[in-house]
Amino acid sequence: MGIAEKIISGDIRSVARLIRDIDDNVPGARKVLKDLYPSTGRAYVVGITGAPGVGKSTLVDQMVTHLRSAGKTVGVLAVDPTSPFSGGAILGDRVRMQRHSMDEGVFIRSMATRGSFGGITQSTRSAIDVLDAMGKDCIIVETVGVGQDEIDIVQSAHTTIIVLVPGMGDDVQALKAGILEIGDIFVINKEDREGADRTVNDIRLMIEMDEKRYKDGWKPPILTAQAVFDKGVKEILDEIDKHRKHLQSSAQIQSMRKYEKARNDLSEMIKDKIIHDVFNEIINSGEFETTLQSIVKGEIDPYTACDTIVLKKLKTGTT
């Protein structure tokens, strides 16, 4: 049996290894992804994002329990940041989800952002495809704290949940531009904390003011929860279900989402491949280092250096 067949039949070790190979950019992984692609597109993908410490992992843990009791199999991809200094990472999202580790119907994988070259968005996206192909009904992607990149990841989710906590004040204001555009459901977690009502109102006001953005007919609901006590979690899942039905209700929405997803996937893949191939070559050949030295010595400006490298690479056109 080939690796793709093993994955489709649900073999945990093959799945775990392939995700590793994707992360490590092993050339063979690409071939397997191509083989798996026809088996993808069945899972429902939920993205969960929000600032660090708002309770994303705890919420995911509770959602998994609910989904499991409804008989659904679940894949979880939890992303934590890579240290920009050492390249290492501590991936701690599993701590909140350990009670699911003995459940055959749940596959949890921690992933690191691995630097800023777009690799995370690409490998997370591919990992979604892998879990989809292995037959998971629902895939939950938990991002690192909010930023531009995380918004990119969330474009591959059917439903995106933004988790907030009371008392973020100006932070919420600062985040609103990016966040409001991608949130399908807003959750104010830790609702027992002071200021929860105000946070709900802030978000409501922002949504009301941006009404034209929701012209496809879905106005994001705002829910409150105390994930750690499983309070409000069922309601969140009900809203996800409503949103799923909303997406499925119109052929126009479906084809629009499909187009958007394809556009996003393809452009990210192209960027990722170009960056990866060009960098590999110039680092291995030593050209990167010698060019750096020339810039430092003032022999060449970085704009010219960049154009030279990229043009040369595009002309030789290997891969």
Partner: protein
């Protein structure tokens, strides 16, 4: 941009021992050495540790134990790895172990044991010298 495979490590605390300061410091040192560290928290059964290690496709498991149950918990992890065909994962331990136990644990398949006072550099160096990223 880097073709080199990254070492992935699971740091786990099996059993009822509630002290994870040491495990966290080790996890942090591994991170600073450029490894990806999955930390799975307190009170894990050996079964849970092995499941997590397989799902995360790690190259090494670092077991921490300060509560004296290592003679059961550590060999059990080795046993379960063998049962699951995952005995290529290197296992080492850290914590308080009597001399006699260290020899027995090594015989049971724990590759190395680190006791209090081991410099962090040494713990990291050991990984660099003894653990190869799997599949490479």
């Amino acid at each position: 941009m880097n073709q080199k495979r990254k070492i992935r490590i699971l740091v786990a605390k099996p059993g009822l021992d509630g002290h994870d300061r040491g495990a966290r410091i080790i996890a942090r040192s591994y991170r600073d050495a450029g490894f990806e560290v999955v930390y799975s928290g307190l009170h894990q059964t050996p079964e849970e540790v092995v499941r997590a290690a397989i799902q995360e496709d790690v190259d090494m498991i670092g077991l921490s134990s300060l509560a004296g149950a290592h003679m059961y918990l550590f060999p059990r992890v080795i046993e379960l790895l063998q049962e699951n065909g995952a005995d290529d994962i290197v296992v080492c331990g850290g914590g308080i172990f009597p001399e006699d136990d260290i020899a027995k644990l090594k015989k049971a398949g724990i590759k190395e044991l680190f006791t209090p006072g081991t410099p962090l550099d040494e713990v990291v160096k050991w990984v660099e010298e003894n653990v190869n990223p799997r599949g490479s």
